[in-house]
């Protein structure tokens, strides 16, 4: 990935952001699949994922989806914490990217990220030689610099995910952020995230209710969840 790739064509810099309209998300997980296909993301790890909670009272129940990805923060703790500057912010566009050849795998960035957006790539992959380093969502930097939208946005059939330049007053994301009540995840962390949610329920943006179970019960479910990812 070239760090020198030009994002803006004019004078002013761009600031890309994503708006996720959770009212439109149907939980088809196509974004997750598109992302996996785009990057050959291995089993057990994801650049984007879609957890859900069942909310309401029977018979009026629904699944509340919350698509998740790297928030490409304005003040990213992962960049601050990396000892070798393996992760950095692209000034023009605001992408938070990773230098795979420099990453030492200390996982400091993973510990620093309040959103769990980072993960360690396994030591064996079928097609891609990048292994044993930390990886994350790139906002599809390689696609955006070619005037394409990220793979997850491209594939979203409900148009729940919208991507664009926040600095452009005529962009759809600017319009959506200006006209709708939006929220970001964990604003108290001071990271200034650039993934905005419309209609996100407080119930889904906080720490999972599973956390309130006994650690022993939690561990049983965790091991069941991880059982199929031992590769």
């Amino acid at each position: 990935m070239s760090e020198g790739s030009k994002v803006s064509t004019g004078g002013s810099k761009k600031r890309y952001a994503m708006v996720v309209d959770t009212r439109r998300c149907i939980g088809c997980m196509a974004c997750q699949v598109a992302c996996k296909a785009e990057y050959d993301t291995p089993l057990g790890v994801n650049r984007t994922w879609v957890p859900y909670k069942v909310v309401g009272k029977y018979p009026n129940v629904k699944k509340q989806f919350l698509p998740r990805l790297c928030n490409h923060c304005e003040d990213p703790p992962c960049v601050r914490n990396c000892p070798v500057e393996a992760t950095f912010v692209v000034e023009d566009g605001g992408f938070v990217l990773q230098r795979y050849e420099r990453c030492i795998g200390c996982r400091s960035c993973m510990a620093a990220c309040p959103y769990n957006a980072r993960f360690m790539l396994p030591s064996h992959r079928t097609y891609t030689p990048i292994t044993n380093v930390v990886d994350k969502c790139t906002f599809c930097f390689h696609r955006v610099t070619q005037n394409l939208v990220p793979a997850c946005v491209q594939t979203c059939i409900g148009r729940s995910r919208v991507f664009g330049d926040l600095n452009d007053p005529n962009s759809e994301v600017s319009y959506l952020v200006a006209k709708n009540a939006t929220q970001v995840l964990r604003p108290e962390q001071g990271t200034k995230p650039h993934v905005f949610y419309i209609g996100a329920d407080r119930n889904t943006t906080e720490i999972g209710r599973d956390a309130y179970r006994k650690p022993e019960v939690m561990e049983l479910e965790r091991s069941a969840f991880k059982r199929n990812f031992k590769i």
């Binding site: 957890p51 393996a86 962390q189």
Partner: protein
Amino acid sequence: MGDYVWFHDVSWHASYAVYFFVIGILAGLSFISYGSWRTPALRPLREKTAYASFVLLGLGGLLLIADLSQPLRFLNILNPAYLNFTSPLAWGALNIVAFGIASVIYIRTLRKGDEQNGKLLALITALLALGLPIYTGFDLAVHQSRPVWNTPIMPVLFVAMAIASGSAVGALLAAGNAEAQKVLREYMLWSAGAVAVMLVSIMGTTNYGGAAEELTFALMTSGTMGLIFVGVGFLAGSVAPAVLLFAPIGRSQGVVMVSALLILVGSAALRYVLLMAPQQVQTLF
């Protein structure tokens, strides 16, 4: 409940806690080696603690490198073109290297019997050793989203644990030497007491924090983690040795040795829980 929860992995595993333990002991031993220049009672420990500290540095360094998923790239962290000074890990790497160099020069001076430069080098080595628990504390404290870690007291707690565990190893090395153990008893008593007070303070603020803090508090005080933290780390490893050493029987060598063992087991348990527990709740977000 019909929820789909993605279980994330913890970032740092237990091997990092072992590294914290080793680095704490070696820092404490360096303090004793310097202390031997000021307190004659510790003189028999001067060489022993300097050598042990250096050996533990090698062990700690290997543990740290082996914990990287790209171990051969550990040199990147010493590359001036790559260093990111906003990361405590970068400062820590420089501190470890500087401590290693100072230790080698100090040991050479000890072997030559150069008393004049020895004291100065012992001071430099001890000051660099002080940086090791401070950096490990900061390493955790800078993560603003983690309960327990993100407290300004964390580097101070790691320094106190380093003094406690280093003095404990010193007391074991000084077996049979009543004079040295008398001094080390004081070190252990006050550092174990300080650790206990800081733990109460940290747990108090954690329990009165937000949802993540309260959940972490519950995790650290119940089940297996609770047994390790409260039972082994706090009660057996901090409060019990402080009480034993403070009591009139605390001056006997047997009690000093038992307290030293308790402190060592306790500080290993504390480092394990302080590292692992605050990562658990985050894995569910």
